[in-house]
Symmetry: C2
Subunit: 351 residues, 2 copies
DNA sequence: TTGACGCTTTGGATCGTTCTAAAACGTGGG
DNA sequence: CCCACGTTTTAGAACGATCCAAAGCGTCAA
């Protein structure tokens, strides 16, 4: 009978070594499946590991080997289903590769973002995936994470000195192309008076989506009335409230490309209040393909961004970079896919 | 001029010590804000820390002190908004207390759950918050996490030997009271023929909610027809499909307590198909207060479960347990709150 | 002069693992 | 009998921080 496992303390490699009369080094070799150890020794050690209920201490190993087995994931809003799906995708890939996810949620506060980054850095992650809070400054982030740990910027640009962060990788959605596809689709349905509704000009994604819209309109030779470009806070409530702005100009639009699904669903309510039936009297498109989009009345034409796939992709990008830091920084633009549903009807009386 | 920071290597406490001619011990004291160090020394050291861009290595400190600064958060479905909110709440509190969140997502697979727990354990978390996958076995979980690390079970029971896990803390929603409140509310509106619609009897939450419903019915002296207890898969689609079952018996219900919001929204569609207008011809309630509940037509009376608050609470519970492991395990039942909206109308002709 | 006493500072061991170089051991050829 | 050789095993120094006991130092009373 060997000794019993220690009581108040965790079982260490030395306990195992003592328990079956070999050196710590040998146990370590067994743990890492080295071919150097003799079959019988290995069996004896493995039995002892089981007997004492040994748990590997990866922190100690990482210290000695100067390695890391974690990736930090810092998100501006975990409660948002888009980012939740994204996080699930990230964790899926990281888990499969033996990395562990260090989570940090900033709640759109740049102050908290810096604090969270600082705290996570103390755990020495091998890399960082960051979806920055609005208004994040490149310089400050750089000084929080240091110049060494690889960082992948997701979904948003940061403001400030470009040179400060031009060695970061980037993963963005193809906002511009998405909005262009939606606009082209509405044009294809026969619409000529098409608005762009919702979003904040302060956000880079809104600017990109507007650019895609303008691009399609221009390419089709269609003019854009100023009253058709309406800003609103990108949630349902404000989208309802601002919807009448669309009809203040001299020509009323017959369709709208909306900044995102939440805004589109809000606009639907606003149209109802004006006596217009969306999907029959007025066509609209969203962006994101949230769960509700498929079951709204009418179902919403929108752009699928597959956040879980983006998460997986982000994880793979940062892992590549961790494995080999030498290649030049890379910017990846993820495709989005147009999902045509009933909300994007043709105009009622063809022009 | 001091030496320059090292190149390929991270800056360590020894670099700082060498850089300003003190011992490592002194630098360590400065880092931890000890009152022992002289004002001038402290200033010199702090200057050097800044100059070299020192980052604290918490893993090394944890190793030496035999402490931990992380909590593992293992969720069966991170993509579900309920758990995403929960995670955000957990991370909020943990971040404030200097802990870091180790994330693990199991995707409802018990196999993956064990793998994830094993991997996280190697990082030596101070505690674990676990929302188990369906069908998780107490024994297996216990052997994955060992008997030492505190564990908080959230939201779901695990199957198998109770004795195996009776030293775990628990945090559950008050399903029974929630359903009772909803039922009492409908009774208060004047309903007597009230159904319980949706959910799987296999799930513990469904059984608890049914129990709350029965409790209220019995207390009010109301009888329950067998045809009023209808099971369905808890999603919108199946809820539409099964809704006619409610009207197969000899007495048609005038109201229904639904298993959750998704089911309630599905039932609304089913009622429409029968020519009944929910909120006027038929009253119903949901459970969860998902985002759609407030904006459906009619807005849905439901039970708010405030997942973010639950997350905060879970974090506080596990931190308490980490701080002092001695008190006996505790089961916490979180209150749910009835939100009355237009869907729970009085019956059309008062009985 | 001595030593007792605060106030600071410090060397060295230590946490649990891995790495390196070398030792132990059996074996077979010269 | 000795040594070279392949196979296993090992002692001891790392990794970067903290803890402990003790030491340096200036001051002041005896």
């Amino acid at each position: 009978m060997g000794n019993t496992p220690p009581v108040g303390r965790k079982v260490t490699l030395s306990d195992i070594a003592a328990g079956c009369d070999v050196s710590r080094a040998t146990v370590s070799l067994v743990l890492r499946g080295s071919p150097l150890v003799n079959k019988h020794t290995r069996a004896r050690v493995e039995e002892e590991l089981r007997r004492q209920g040994y748990v590997y201490n990866r922190a100690a190993a990482n210290l000695r080997r100067r390695t890391s087995s974690s990736i930090a994931l810092v998100l501006n809003d975990l409660a948002n289903p888009f980012f939740a799906e994204f996080a699930a995708g990230v964790d899926e890939v990281l888990g499969d590769t033996g990395y562990v996810t260090l989570l940090g949620s900033t709640g759109e506060s740049t102050e908290r973002e810096l604090a969270v980054l600082g705290s996570l850095m103390e755990h020495g992650p091998a890399g960082i995936i960051l979806s920055p809070a609005e208004g994040s400054d490149a310089q400050q982030i750089l000084s929080a994470v240091g110049g060494v740990t690889p960082l992948l910027l997701f979904n948003r640009e940061v403001s400030g000195d470009v040179a400060a962060c031009d060695h970061w990788d980037r993963l963005f959605l193809d906002n511009q192309r998405g909005a262009r596809l939606a606009t082209e689709h509405l044009i294809g349905q026969g619409h000529q008076h098409i608005a762009f509704y919702g979003g904040h000009l302060g956000s880079s994604s809104c600017r990109q989506r507007r650019a895609g819209y303008m691009e399609a309109m221009k390419a089709a030779g269609l003019t854009v009335e100023p009253s058709w470009m309406v800003e609103c806070i990108p949630n349902r409530l404000d989208a309802v409230a601002q919807s009448e702005q669309l009809f203040k100009g001299k020509t009323a639009p017959t369709a709208a490309v909306c900044y995102n699904d939440a805004v589109a669903l809000g606009l639907m309510l606003g149209l109802h209040q004006r006596g217009l039936q969306p999907g029959r009297d007025f066509a609209l498109t969203g962006f994101d393909d949230i769960a509700e989009a498929a079951v709204s009345a009418p179902p919403l034409t929108t752009l699928a961004v597959t956040p879980r796939d983006r998460g997986r992709q982000a994880a793979e990008l940062i892992l590549q970079r961790v494995k080999d830091p030498s290649p030049p920084p890379r910017q990846t633009i993820a495709p989005v896919q147009l999902l045509v549903r009933a909300s994007s009807c043709p105009p009622q009386e063809p022009a």
